[in-house]
Amino acid sequence: MLIPCPHCGPREVSEFSYQGDATRTCPELTSTDVKAWYDYVYNRPNPAGPHREYWQHSGGCRAHLIVTRDTRTHEIHDVAFARAALNRAGEQA
């Protein structure tokens, strides 16, 4: 499997570390809503089909990516830097 890193280009999957589902959002650190935290930490949609997920290019540029990949075929539909996607502030700066 090849993941096209937006910085490094397509690289073998062995250069990346899987960091799981990217549809979850971490509650605010100040939140003490145990249910929300539990849901974030333990629950996953785990779909058969397109899956938004984090991968770190740990054997490369070390950036985290958001990859949309089909879990039935391993086909990759979309890749973006996680930080840029998540951080509007960063983009504007």
């Binding site: 499997m1 090849l2 397509p10 073998e12 999957v13 570390s17 960091q19 990217a22 971490c26 509650p27 650190l29 100040t30 939140s31 003490t32 809503d33 145990v34 935290w37 539990y38 974030y40 930490v41 333990y42 984090y54 770190q56 740990s58 070390r62 950036a63 985290h64 075929t73 391993h74 086909e75 996680a82 930080r83 998540l86 951080n87 502030a89 960063g90």
Partner: protein
């Protein structure tokens, strides 16, 4: 010249004779021979024994699909079992051995199994060997006795225990077009793609390019096909942008158009050149792949079809034309299609007598008829072979056969023959295309499975696509090559092909039903009866059929047997083959050496990670140990010392005077940026934003689920500049954790993280005399209590090397960590040793480090084991109440604060014996019965300070048990003994020494 070698022809080099042995007997062959062709040339027809019944078997094919002729190669002092003789190129001195026979190939006791053939029907072992329900053989015992013998009878070749001395390698390659298979289709594809200037790789499993053109006897472009292919191969080879890989099998088609291909670099050589790997595993990333892998011929199933002397028709033709050998003198052919007729003509041309062509069809094409005439026989149309005779084939029996009704009639007629060439049609080699799991499509006309719709960027060409003629191979090959290279299709004339105009449609006949064992899977001895039995017992899905009978599970993965097997099942179920389907294709296409996949990691499983002081440690007698990938000193043993004596001495020296330990392996992370302090407040349980510059704090991190993750000290070097340390074991994990939360959870924070583990060498100097040592060697800064208080930091120089001296203590002594650039590590270390000499400084290793920390009750990975919380470890004082942090939300869930949790305590051995890591703790001292475990020892040592064996433990109740007596229970090492449970702060609990 042997009897079977033709007088001329073939692509072998007749002038070069090569000696080899088979089962200890010497033979000769020629350069260009395979072991199989050389054995045929020497008249050796019995080559192996089958798996279950030990039936005598001969050579059946001329390629990777060989099910029978598996041998063991003896090379480089090791055994290499199960290699098809058809795949072994002859080299001088080649030693091969037959297998699965005892005492000899000719006379094999295992053949007695045949007598009980019916008993050993498919799945027989599921029905018996269960043994009695009572008595000494109940349970699994009886079965295990039987199993012992079954295992010895099964298996094919014998492997050895000697390490393989060979070397292996991986190679990464990138190209625009990868072409797999260099037959007419692959060669045309390569030529077409090459002209585009794109990067092209052409991989062919055989030693030569040309594929079937080497033995088709056809004319291409006005030349003999073999010459045409050689000329074209030469032209392709001369092209800059094409890499040709021969002896290279594409074996796996992985995601991202990644093709794995095995190159056998030196197998065909008597001696490997220096530095050359035996095998090289290519990982080829291609924009487009052209699959031109051709087709496999398959047999017709009939009684007695496994007798030595029965061979695929295409193989007989190949032996004659490519290798100049005849598999028999009196050859009969049996077919359901036209292709065998070309073989007949060829065999005749090379000097064999064609005894008969037996064809199940009532009618044949004019071209076939013409070839029959060339072969000198009148074909027996509407006939079938119903039996074979002879230990080695002497005769076949034939009867009238109606291809429509599949009925036999009339009397059996004997035909003399020492070789029967069989063709049951052709199956495209769709393996690579099917590995992704899509279903191949059955084509009624061609009687074959065609490749599925592509799941990746590949195009097919030639016989692989079901295109049967060479002209089609040329055109589909060129088209695929052009398309793959992104070029327009060409109207230029293709090379002209002169070939008999054969009818490509076989009759849909897969099996001749008759009396006697008819084999479907030769290697696994799966018979037609087995298939029908599977059907009767309800194992009707093709996947059940496979698993119940082992059809297609042998080393050839059913290349010759799958389609006939499915056809027989379809017949039994009364369904068309289309509805029965085929079993799933998986990598590898053909077996791949395990060494090649390990590649350069074979012999170097993981790289060694060394600290800057490594050589010093080794030179000074350190016994090294593995800590992850690192090598660290365990002890610096003196002559005659035990490990315990050594570390006790080292630790005692620390407590008494001063010691030094290499801590370069600690994870170090530079945390920089305006939000660095905020960031640390969030990831640590305690506060870092309040830490003054040039001071350090001990920190604890939790996982999101509230469990302890790692601990370490972090230094504030500047307002926005921190140096974090982690445990050696968790360095990578912590770095990833921090990068993750920074990129994904708080992408707005301005913080940069850089691993600086390798930038800094570190030495911890500990003991009451530590300061004195520093005073004599540190320049540029004072190191007294005022300049350098506990958890303080100064910059200075040691012997002209810049250093950072931090005061902190893991040992509980007055202690410092001295950090310097890694390139100065050994220099500074040596300077410190020199400065410490007057105080009798002792370098100490992991064991002493462990002893010192146990005495202090400091936790490490044995206690922070992924299951413990901060409270379990009595580190709740580090959980800030002023701010949230990662893990704070979930750390108080009911299960994490239960009374029954295992919590940290100290234990002292009361019988003067060592405690033992991994020992459990029980409350009862009754030695007759193992009591209930209430916890376990995580670490132990002999404590020089306490002059006792002590340990840390996690026990139910923790602190509440302080002062209680309990027992060590270590049944694995048969060790039991009384202990006292105490506080884990054994030594200097107030910390006077380190603050001193």
């Amino acid at each position: 010249m042997t009897a079977r070698r033709t007088s001329s022809g073939g692509l072998i080099e007749r002038s070069r004779t090569i000696g080899f042995t088979f089962d200890g007997r010497s033979y000769t062959g020629h350069s260009g021979d395979t072991l199989a062709s050389a054995l045929v040339a020497n008249g050796v027809t019995l080559v192996g024994r089958s798996f279950k019944y030990h039936r005598p078997r001969g050579i059946f094919t001329a390629s990777v699909d060989e099910p029978n002729a598996l041998v063991t190669i003896l090379k480089d002092g090791v055994r290499e079992p199960n290699i098809p003789a058809t795949q072994i190129e002859l080299f001088e001195g080649l030693e091969a051995e037959s297998q699965n026979r005892f005492p000899s190939l000719e006379f094999d006791l295992g053949a007695l199994n045949q007598l009980a053939g019916r008993l050993f029907s498919a799945g027989f072992y599921y029905k018996t060997f269960m043994g009695p329900v009572i008595g000494p053989l109940r349970g699994t015992r009886f079965w295990m006795i039987c199993e012992h013998f079954i295992r010895r009878a099964a298996g094919l070749g014998r492997a050895g225990y000697k390490p393989d001395p060979a070397r292996y390698e991986r190679m990464n390659a990138f190209c625009d077009v990868l072409i797999v298979g260099a037959g007419p289709a692959g060669l045309m594809a390569a030529e077409a793609a090459m002209s585009s200037g794109k990067r092209v790789i052409l991989a062919e499993q055989e030693p030569h390019l040309g594929g079937s053109a080497r033995w088709s006897g056809e004319m291409i472009g006005g030349k003999a096909a073999a010459d045409w292919s050689q000329d074209l191969a030469r032209r392709i080879d001369a092209s800059e942008n094409v890499r040709i890989l021969t002896r290279t099998t594409a074996w796996g088609y992985y995601d991202g158009n990644n093709i794995a291909a095995l190159e056998r670099v030196t197998d065909h050589l008597a001696d490997a050149p220096k530095g050359a790997p035996r095998h090289r595993n290519w990982a080829i990333r291609a924009d487009t792949v052209v699959l031109a892998t051709g087709a496999f011929e398959r047999p017709i199933v009939f009684p007695g079809n496994d007798r030595p002397g029965v061979m695929l028709a295409g193989a007989t033709e190949r032996y004659a034309r490519e290798f100049g050998v005849l598999p028999g003198e009196k050859i009969a052919l049996f077919t359901n299609n036209d292709s065998a007729y070309r073989a007949a003509a060829a065999l005749r041309q090379f000097g064999a007598t064609i005894m008969a062509i037996i064809d199940v069809r009532a009618k044949i094409s004019p071209a076939a008829r013409a070839l029959a005439e060339e072969a000198g026989v009148e074909p027996l149309l509407g006939f079938a072979v119903t039996a074979t005779v002879g230990r080695r084939l002497t005769k076949v029996l034939v009867r009238r056969f109606d291809a429509e009704t599949e009925r036999l009639s009339g009397d059996a007629r004997p035909i003399e023959a020492d070789c029967l060439a069989v063709s049951g049609g052709w199956s495209p080699a769709i393996h690579l295309a099917s590995q992704a799991g899509r279903n191949p499509k059955w084509d009624e006309e061609l009687c074959a499975f065609l490749p599925p719709e592509p799941t990746q960027a590949w195009a097919g060409a030639g016989a692989f696509t079901g295109a049967v003629t060479t002209a089609e191979a040329l055109s589909t090959g060129r088209n695929a090559g052009l398309k793959a290279a992104g070029k327009k299709l060409s109207r230029a004339k293709l090379p002209e092909v002169t070939a008999p105009n054969l009818d490509i449609h076989p009759a849909s006949v897969f099996e001749i039903k008759g009396n006697g064992k008819a084999f479907v899977d030769f290697q696994h001895d799966v018979t037609v009866e087995d298939v029908r039995l599977a059907h009767r017992e309800g194992f009707v899905s093709v996947e059940h059929l496979k698993r119940y009978t082992t059809l297609g599970m042998a080393t050839d993965q059913g290349k010759t047997s799958n389609v006939p097997g499915l056809a027989i099942m379809a017949d039994a179920r009364g369904l068309p083959i289309r509805d029965v389907g085929t079993t799933r294709f998986r990598p590898p296409f053909s077996p791949v050496s395990i060494g090649a996949l390990a590649a350069e990691k074979y012999g170097h499983f993981k790289p060694d990670r060394l600290t800057p002081m490594h050589d010093w440690h080794v030179e000074h007698g350190a016994r090294m140990m593995n800590v992850g990938l690192w090598h660290r000193p365990m002890i610096y043993g003196q002559p005659g010392e035990t490990v315990e004596q050594a570390y006790t001495r080292e630790a005692a020296t620390v407590r008494r005077s001063v010691g030094i330990v290499d801590v370069s392996t600690l994870g170090k992370i530079a945390v920089k940026g305006p939000d660095a302090a905020v960031f640390l407040d969030r990831v640590y349980t305690n506060q870092f934003s309040t830490l003054p510059i040039n001071k350090a704090r001990y920190g604890l991190m939790l996982r999101k689920d509230g469990i302890a993750l790692d601990d370490g000290t972090t230094w504030r070097l500047g307002e926005h500049d921190f140096l974090m340390t982690t445990t050696t074991a968790n360095a990578g994990r912590v770095m990833q954790h921090l990068e993750y939360v920074l990129d994904v959870v708080w992408p707005d924070l301005k913080v940069h993280l850089t691993s600086v583990t390798d930038q800094w060498a570190g030495a911890a100097l500990a003991g009451p005399n530590a300061r004195k040592v520093l005073e004599t060697c540190v320049a540029g800064s004072a190191v007294d209590n005022e300049a350098l208080p506990f958890m303080g930091l100064v910059y200075g120089e040691i012997d002209r090397a810049p250093v950072l001296v931090c005061r902190l203590s893991f040992s509980g002594e007055l202690a410092y960590e001295v950090y310097c650039g890694a390139g100065h590590g050994k220099h500074v270390w040596e300077a410190l040793i020199t400065a410490g000499e007057p105080h009798g400084i002792a370098p100490y290793g992991m064991e002493a480090l462990g002893a010192l920390r146990i005495e202090k009750g400091h936790v490490t990975g044995a206690e922070i084991d992924g299951r413990t919380t901060a409270r379990d470890l009595y580190l709740d004082w580090m959980l800030s109440k002023k701010k949230p942090f990662i893990g704070s939300a979930l750390m108080d869930r009911p299960g994490l604060i239960e009374k029954t949790r295992l919590r940290l305590v100290g234990v002292i051995s009361l019988d003067g014996r060592p405690l033992g890591g991994g020992a459990h703790i029980v409350e009862s001292g009754d030695l007759n019965e193992l009591g209930e475990s209430i916890g376990h020892i995580t670490a132990f040592c002999y404590s020089p300070a306490l002059a006792q064996y002590i340990g840390l433990a996690l026990v139910k109740g923790g602190k509440e048990l302080h002062g209680k007596r309990a027992y060590i229970s270590d049944p694995l090492r048969k060790h039991f003994g009384p202990v006292q449970i105490v506080s884990h702060h054994f030594f200097d609990p107030e910390g006077k020494r380190m603050h001193g």
